[in-house]
């Protein structure tokens, strides 16, 4: 099964062929060939190879259907932040709703912890939504007639937890997301950022295995958005909870994501770490997308280094291989000479002015790209 996960990912996924069983154990969500088609006789589209190949516009003209998610496959690994990113209309929000069947997928396989989600009956699905996956929404989705505390406790109320207990547990998460003191307000009396903290707290209170975020911060002001992103990073560091994060903001994706799936017209065009996306764009679309990203803040010296020449392996400052280029520039500028990239006391390579500048100036793009593809 894992061998089919070729898509655009290339790197880690293709190696999964050998260690397939282990990769699947690690995966919280395993998604295979998932389709969501809206429109009349939607179920025919994924089956029919001639239709499946069509572009979005051709498909609409021919069948009246819109394919929001087309043949998407990926794994979400335990403890990682998996970002799905794309412009509006790329199908990312539909995709995340398919994970808990808020939107029913048209075809494909969907497993959570090895359990078939698509085969679940209503009560099984309800259990999944109640205990295992909680979602944070772009427009918060708070109940306006309830206090912050009761909103946060709502998930537990649905589960049938008693009033005293659910309020106590809700109070803990209210404190955790920094809303202490506001618990008796109504959502309407809070700012957008605060409301989204309530949304986040509501999702956290049910202690889910995985958190799903649907563009949670796009409705917020830039400064508040930064705060909230840091909040998510902090929570992830503290609890190590698995997260699926939908965003249209590349900077947000690069900041939060351990891995990023970039979507276009319902398809994943590239799946990889931020460094892979920025350093080795899979096609022109991705290249265009990441053009304005300050590469020195995403790429590491592993990408910039060249083999050490004789004598160099013992001299100069030592840098870890995952040091950002921007930090390396500072180190190299300070020392005035080349720096060594050292891992476990072994010198992997050398970065000097020329190497670093090449990365910043995008001169490295062509060569390593091919190198990767060959590897």
């Amino acid at each position: 099964m894992a061998s089919t996960v070729v898509d655009a990912s290339g790197t880690e996924k293709s190696t999964a062929t050998t260690t397939g069983s282990q990769a699947e154990q690690d995966a919280v969500f395993a998604v295979r060939h998932l389709w969501k088609v809206f429109g009349p006789k939607a179920e025919k589209v994924p089956e029919d190879a001639s239709l499946a190949e069509l572009s979005a516009q051709e498909l609409r003209e021919k069948t009246g259907c819109t394919a929001a998610v087309r043949d998407v496959s990926f794994d979400v690994k335990k403890g990682e932040v998996f970002v799905v990113m794309g412009l509006s209309g790329s199908g990312k929000s539909t995709l995340v709703r398919c994970l808990t069947r808020l939107i029913e997928p048209t075809s494909g396989d969907l497993e959570m912890d090895g359990e078939d989600v698509r085969g679940m009956d209503r009560s099984g699905l309800r259990e999944l939504r109640r205990h295992r996956a909680a979602m944070v929404f772009q427009h918060f989705g708070l109940l306006p007639h309830r206090s912050v505390l009761d909103n946060v406790a709502y998930g537990l109320e649905i589960q049938g937890v008693g009033k005293a207990e659910r309020r106590a547990r809700a109070m803990e998460t209210v404190e955790k997301v920094g809303l202490g003191g506001l618990e008796h307000r109504r959502p309407g009396q809070l700012s957008g950022g605060q409301q989204q903290r309530v949304g986040l707290a509501r999702a956290l209170t049910v202690d889910p295995e995985i958190l799903l975020f649907d563009e949670p911060f796009s409705a917020l002001d830039p400064l508040i958005r930064r705060d909230m992103q840091e909040e998510v990073i902090r929570l992830h560091k503290e609890e190590g909870r698995t997260m699926v994060f939908i965003t249209h903001d590349l900077a947000e994706a690069l900041l939060l994501g351990d891995r990023i799936a970039l979507m276009r017209d319902g398809k994943i065009v590239q799946l990889g770490t931020p460094e892979e996306i920025v350093g080795s764009p899979a096609d022109e679309y991705v290249r265009d997308f990441v053009r304005d990203v300050p590469r020195e803040q995403v790429l590491t010296v592993r990408r910039a280094m060249r083999p050490a020449e004789s004598g160099e392996a013992d001299e100069g400052a030592a840098l870890a291989p995952d040091t950002l280029i921007s930090d390396a520039i500072e180190a190299v500028a300070r020392s005035g000479g080349a720096a060594r990239v050292v891992e476990d006391g072994r010198c992997l390579g050398i970065v000097d002015h020329a190497c670093l500048l090449n990365v910043v100036a995008r001169l490295d793009e062509a060569a390593p790209d091919h190198g990767k593809a060959a590897a």
Partner: protein
Amino acid sequence: MSAATTSPATTAPGTASARTARVTASLRHGALGKLLILAVAAAVLVPLASAKWASGTWPHALTVDLSGPFGDASTWIVDNRDTHWFFVYFLGHLSNGVVVSVRAVYLCLLALGWTGVTALVTLVAWRVAGLRIAATALISLLVSGVLGMWVPTMQTIALMVVSVLVSIAVGALLGLAGGLSDRMFRLLRPVLDTMQVLPAFAYLLPFVMVFGIGVPAALLATVIYAAPPMARLTALGLRGADAGVLEAVSSLGATGRQRLLTARLPLARKELLLGINQTIMMALSMVVIASMIGAAGLGDRVYQALASVDVGAALAASIPIVLLAVVMDRTTAKAGERLGADKSAGPSWLRGRLVWPAVAVVTALAVVAGRLTGSLVWPTASVIDIAPPVNHFKEWMVDHIYSGIPVLGGTADWAAGFTSWVLNPLRDGLTALPWWGALLIVAALAWVIGTWRTALTATVALAVIGVLGVWVPSMNTLSQVLAALVVTLVVGIGVGVLAAGSARMEKILRPVLDVCQTMPQFVYLIPVVALFGVGRAPAAAAAVVYALPAVIRITTQGLRQVSPAAMESAQSLGATRWQQLRQVQLPLARPALLLAVNQGVVLVLAVVIIGGLVGGGALGYDVVAGLSTGDLGLGMIAGIAIVCLGLMLDRVTQPTDRRAGKGA
């Protein structure tokens, strides 16, 4: 064909090219096209029709006399009421249940005594709506007592309590069904929409036929009249719930039931309260009118007084009605606002859990105090009879301002003038109009303003009136409606334009309009009778007064809602105020103005029909006569004709986008 003159090409002078441009534009718009199609159809059908049945009014050959069957049905019902299983096991229980529950509430109110009722009502109003409204409630009850209307007021309240509870239950259930099921909604929607435009009078007869005159008929007619707004608003509220919130609730694993109880219903609470408010107001309006079919209470007092043109007694009974309406409206509206404001206002001790027990205790104390002083019913010593002075004043008016004032004439002269110069020619004209001509005009108007469906409904409705053989009285009613409508629109839109232009004017008007819109239709007849006597002109005048507030309000709102950007750009181009009004505001407010016309027609018709009580004649009188002489066949036919007339008038003035606009 007379309707063709409405085509825009014949208006405003202009160059030839401009004229052709207009013609093509209106063709594209479809109005002229529709008229052309109608003209062709008319050219074929009219010669045929007039050759076969040449007459001005509806040809006798095309009528069906239903009074016989209706009479038979009513006789059959009377004969079988005590024996047939349907009456014994279903309607009998229903009617007994109604009588028993109304009686029970009434006895409770009596047992509480006037002290207890006053304390309870005031405290409840305080709790849910604040101090000011509590004071209004207190004063209103005291005034009712002082006017000697305590017992009828309690009777009306007892009827109201039962009918409102039943209406809300029925409405909420229907609304729930419509809110949760698409098919049910599609089914309910047109029915509810139509029920809202029908005059209250039309509901009376069928219930009398089945239940006979009495409390059950009155109460059930009230329920049928008052439940639609609740059903409608419940359905709309449930449908309008924020999809994002519902999705979030589902994402947490809520069951359907949990979704409904914890999210959808609470999210719709504003609409639900608005529905309760509207239901209460409509129930009050109907309970008062239903005095004609056996509802005791204030309405009955008004009805009796009007029958003997005793203006003083009518006024004494109608003041408590108005006060009741104001208190009920304000209390429910304020309660709704408070819920909407997320946080209940007022001092914290008013919001605690102990408030309700405290209300009970204080009420109990008041009851005990009342019993100790020995006055369960309002003490007769403190009743002021206002009827003689009012009647005396009315006599004075009859002597001094009815006629003979130099230059101005007098109110009775005006009424006579209006009758002989406006109503009579209009009625004669409508009656003389060939029946096929009337059908064509209705079809043309409805089609140009609305869609072919509305045109078809309107035309069929008018034809049914003809078939029923009540063409002449219907044309009489129609003439009153049209005359009143024109006056309403001229005055209403004029005042609306002024109010939209001046904040001060609107500030003065608002409380007046608020009170006017809460008053039951019946009440409007009294001042009109006092001023103009009885006849068709007073009925039309009452209709104008009743319909004005809604027309003014809709016009003002429509003009206010015109995009400020458009106004600003007109201003920046140097448009005068008149130009702004004529070229920007009025055209942009067209949908609102059409709605004002539509509402105006519906409201005017409702009161013109009730005007049958004060000499309005025509269909309204047929209903009254049918009720009072027991000739249910005559009444039923008039009732159906009223329904058809209402349908026709509503559809003719129904703008195309009304349904789409309200579809949220």
